[in-house]
Amino acid sequence: MLVSILHRVSGNGLAFAGLAVLVWWLAALAGGEASYDAFVGHATAWYGRVVLVGLTWAFFNHLVSGVRHLVLDIGAGYELERNAFWSVLTPIAGVVLTVAFWAIVLLA
């Protein structure tokens, strides 16, 4: 049940906040250096980092549990043990991928 709730929360978070940031980023980039620097200023401020880390978590969580949905849709993975295993693994994988992404972006 938690996986289903997280799928909906992260999906709607991406739909409202994620798409707004995506379009803002594209518009700032198309607008020229000044508007892009203004975007980067917000994105690298503490509140921008909070939003972006939240959005990357939503992205990776929605991605992993979405792929789980696609697998279940073709009728695979309904055995009790295997189903429980992947339902535990998906939220963990979402967090691990988020940490890995930011580790590479900030440290590399």
Partner: protein
């Protein structure tokens, strides 16, 4: 077939023949968003120069523009379908539901159109 309760009015009519269309589109657009989204995340990770010049040069390449355009289309389409399901689950009053889905359509089409315009401007070097 009764004519009192809502369930009584629809009992015996069979399927509406449109539910599986939404369900299938949700899956197709999921995969259609997955591919360009993974490409974007990979590109952002691999990008050496994340200054305006570097990102602008990268986004202006034809392949980047096509994938960014597909990402905008796929993600807004997929989001429109997903938010519709949430509205149908939580908004039960008919007029409110109609208004919410109308606003959702306006926002999704406007957002996608604006996003595509930005990608085109980048690609054509405006």
């Amino acid at each position: 077939m009764g004519n009192g309760t809502p369930i009584g009015r629809v009992r015996g009519l069979g399927s509406a023949h449109s539910g599986s269309h939404h369900w299938l589109l949700q899956r197709f657009t999921a995969i259609g968003t997955l591919v360009p989204a993974l490409w974007l995340v990979g590109s952002l990770v691999a990008m050496g120069d994340r200054s305006f010049k570097g990102v602008h040069a990268w986004a202006s390449q034809p392949l980047s523009a096509i994938l960014l355009g597909l990402l905008v289309l796929g993600s807004f389409w997929h989001a429109r379908l997903g938010v519709q399901v949430m509205i149908e689950d939580y908004v039960h009053e008919t007029a409110n539901k109609f208004a919410a889905i109308m606003l959702l359509n306006l926002a999704a089409f406007a957002g996608a159109a604006f996003g595509l315009l930005c990608v085109v401007r980048l690609a054509l070097g405006a």
